[in-house]
Assembly symmetry: C2
């Protein structure tokens, strides 16, 4: 009952990037060191974020990464989607999901509310929101 490492890392990376005042380019070495994420794994994740269209990369000397969209327009759920980690509408608590609405177990209705809260939280929290408040994550 937890997000994958990749999702966690991605959120931390992007939240850190969003937290920088100027939208300067940031390179993988700096990000890996600052956030204590294995360099090679970080670059792998960054490449996925580039492919997903969340950030753009500038290759070559003096290169790095920057956001493609405004941080207020990137939602946490957008990040989770990339790693197939978001809470789907049809997703059953038990991960079973071959029961229909007509025929539900005792958990079915109880799961609706937390599920909606989680979806709301992920869908309505932008990187700007996360970066703005509190300390770094």
């Amino acid at each position: 009952m937890q997000l994958s490492n990749s999702s966690q890392y991605a959120i931390r990376i992007l939240a850190y990037m969003a937290d920088q005042k100027d939208s300067r380019l940031m390179n993988a070495t700096e990000l890996a060191e600052t956030l204590s994420i294995p360099y090679k794994f970080l670059t792998k994740i960054m490449t996925e974020l580039v492919k997903a269209g969340l950030v753009v990369s500038i290759r070559g000397r003096e290169g790095g990464y920057k956001f493609k969209k405004k941080t207020s327009e990137i939602m946490v759920s957008d990040i989770l989607d990339i790693f197939n980690d978001s809470v789907k509408d049809e997703q059953c608590v038990l991960g079973i999901g071959f029961c229909n609405g007509m025929c539900k177990c005792a958990l079915h209705d109880q799961w609706m509310e937390p599920k909606h809260l989680l979806q709301k939280m992920f869908r309505e929290s932008s990187l700007e929101d996360i970066a703005g408040e509190g300390c770094k994550i």
Copy 2:
């Protein structure tokens, strides 16, 4: 963001057992076939449930499994605990959890409510509840 296979299987197995009227012994072969769970994997899980004290096993011919406690006294969270799959109090949404209360990200407070609902759901739903309602899972 989902329970492990072992947890899912265990819940389904126990819910099915709880659903039987008489508290007869049920053997692994029957359970595996009825619930479409790989026989060998099922016996592995059953052994863990025995060790955890949820069910007792009778070995040898005419043997099988039966509950050790009343089904109204076995909570879903008891099952999740065995497979280390329950939602912990300290558990951060992001699985990071090196932030303290003083220094929280935008998700921190929003996570509290769904977390409590999940915990409540798992802690207050017994096998009897699940078995009684609706169809088999």
